[in-house]
């Protein structure tokens, strides 16, 4: 575990050493907060629901951007050979990078703290509902980052990794929208693919439930198991593709 933490520290150092991370974090914060404030002034309710409603699509674009360099850059510059001939297991190395990504996810969500402070300054919002909203967003984000890490390992090109991860993340989100479910079910009524994806695959219904304060541990299990499988898969792919 100490090796993974060492890798995580290096990753965070490298990330915050580059202007790109600051631009990504600032861009995410500005966009998410602006979308919320627009809804907030229209609805005038002391809740963060509009923020959490905007998150899935923002995550589907910003998290692949955060994750795209994780392994693609290492493979392109061949530093992966340096890293994976140090006395650390491949899974530990992948886990270390993933931990660094989770810290970044926390930083992204922390950009909403001024909104939380504003709600509490204005009245007495439902603190538990806000907390479950953040917890649900963190779980879903963690899964998308693990997916982004795997996509980054599949290619040496960061742009390809980004596009691939964004497409898959969008599928995870959009298959939770009723209009998409309707179209997919309509295309092949016997298969009911839309309903199947909505119930078994999409992350959106889970996020929506947690954002409304309805805690169900199936999201935690989905995110934890999914992330573990993706981290493991990333490590196995890297091991199988040493050239």
């Amino acid at each position: 575990m100490s090796a993974a933490l060492g890798i995580a520290r290096r990753e965070l150092g490298a990330t915050f050493d580059s202007a790109v991370a600051y631009v990504q974090i600032a861009g995410f914060g500005l966009l998410a907060n602006a979308l919320f404030l627009n809804e907030f002034f229209l609805a005038q309710r002391l809740e963060l629901d509009a923020y959490f409603d905007a998150l899935p699509l923002l995550f589907a674009v910003f998290l692949p951007a955060l994750a795209m360099r994780t392994w693609a850059e290492e493979r392109k510059h061949r530093t992966v050979e340096l890293l994976l001939t140090l006395p650390i297991g491949t899974t530990s190395a992948v886990l270390g990078k993933y931990l660094a990504q989770l810290v970044l996810l926390g930083v992204l969500l922390a950009t909403a703290l001024p909104l939380v402070a504003m709600l509490f300054a204005l009245g007495e919002p439902d603190a538990a509902r806000i907390a479950t909203g953040f917890a649900g967003a963190f779980c879903a984000g963690a899964l998308m980052l693990a997916l982004g890490g795997l996509c980054s390992a599949l290619t040496k090109d960061q742009v390809v990794a980004f596009v691939l991860a964004t497409v898959v993340c969008l599928l995870l989100v959009l298959t939770g929208r009723e209009e998409v479910v309707g179209v997919l079910d309509g295309l092949a009524p016997d298969l009911a693919a839309g309903s199947f994806l909505y119930e078994r695959v999409s992350i959106l219904p889970h996020m929506e439930r947690w954002a409304r304060g309805r805690v169900a541990l199936d999201l935690v299990a989905y995110a934890a198991l999914g992330s573990a499988v993706l981290v493991w898969g990333t490590a196995r792919f890297l091991d199988a593709n040493r050239d």
């Binding site: 490298a14 580059s18 001939t85 140090l86």
Partner: protein, 253 residues
């Protein structure tokens, strides 16, 4: 210390190295000589546990590279070809990262940092980012990272690539200092370099070991054959006139 037994590495239908066996003992500097594409890096990568052999086995300090890769990596210092480094890091942070990954901390970290900085003459660049360092310094940074844990076996893949003649001479002296108690294998396609540094040479051509001999024995052999060492070695790695012409430009004196 390093034992390679019937090592074969294939990539699909292509055979990179076939049935290669050699042993490198502590206290030996062994040159691994061959033209580009002969299979030198392929073998070094497998000794370093980067890739597994297709068949055969490699044992480093008693540890099998496929069964106990982490144990091998702990005793091995490896400078890969092209010397990949984390360009955006400063030199101190990079070496500390490598040291910590190798579980070197506290007083030992300070001691080892001092040693590699002095041994690799990095005093002037420790606060610089790696991408601001010259090619020569970058090679020395890679070497420092490979040596920071005081390894008993050292693999250097084309370590003098990009160094000027003064730096090559300094590197040669440095390897002599390191030699005591350590097995050192370094690859090169420059015969003069191998001749100046090594006790023994392994010549590889088209993935096969064509000669494993001590340098002094090779010099005697060349003298007896009435030829130069360069011609003698070229004779082992050329097969046709066309190939010889191509090889001659790659294996240089």
């Amino acid at each position: 210390m390093i034992e390679v037994e019937h090592f074969t590495k294939r990539y699909g239908r292509d055979t990179a190295v076939e049935d290669f066996s050699a042993t490198i003992a502590p206290g030996e500097i062994v040159g691994f000589l061959g033209p580009n594409g002969a299979g030198k890096s392929t073998l070094l990568k497998s000794i370093a546990t980067w890739s597994d052999p297709t068949s055969g086995r490699i044992v480093v300090d008693g540890h099998d590279t496929t069964k106990a890769p982490l144990a091998v990596r702990r005793v091995l210092g490896y400078l890969p070809e092209h010397n990949p480094l984390y360009e955006a890091m400063n030199v101190t942070a990079f070496l500390r990262f490598v040291a910590r990954t190798r579980k070197i901390a506290g007083a030992r970290l300070a001691e080892r940092m001092d040693w590699v900085v002095r041994a690799c003459s990095l005093e002037g660049v420790m606060k610089k980012r790696i991408n601001q360092c010259s090619k020569g310094y970058r090679q020395r940074i890679g070497l420092a990272a490979a040596l920071i844990h005081d390894p008993r076996a050292i693999l250097l893949d084309e370590p003098t690539h990009g160094l000027d003649p003064v730096q090559v001479a300094a590197f040669r002296d440095f390897l002599f200092e390191l030699k005591e108690g350590r097995a050192i294998l370094f690859s090169s396609h420059v015969l003069a370099e191998v001749e100046a540094i090594c006790d023994r040479v392994l010549v590889i051509h088209k993935g096969r070991l064509v000669r494993d001999a001590r340098m002094d024995a090779l010099r005697d052999e060349a003298r007896e054959a009435g030829t130069t060492l360069e011609e003698l070695v070229l004779g082992w790695v050329r097969d046709t006139p066309a190939a010889a012409a191509a090889t001659a430009s790659e294996v240089t004196a």
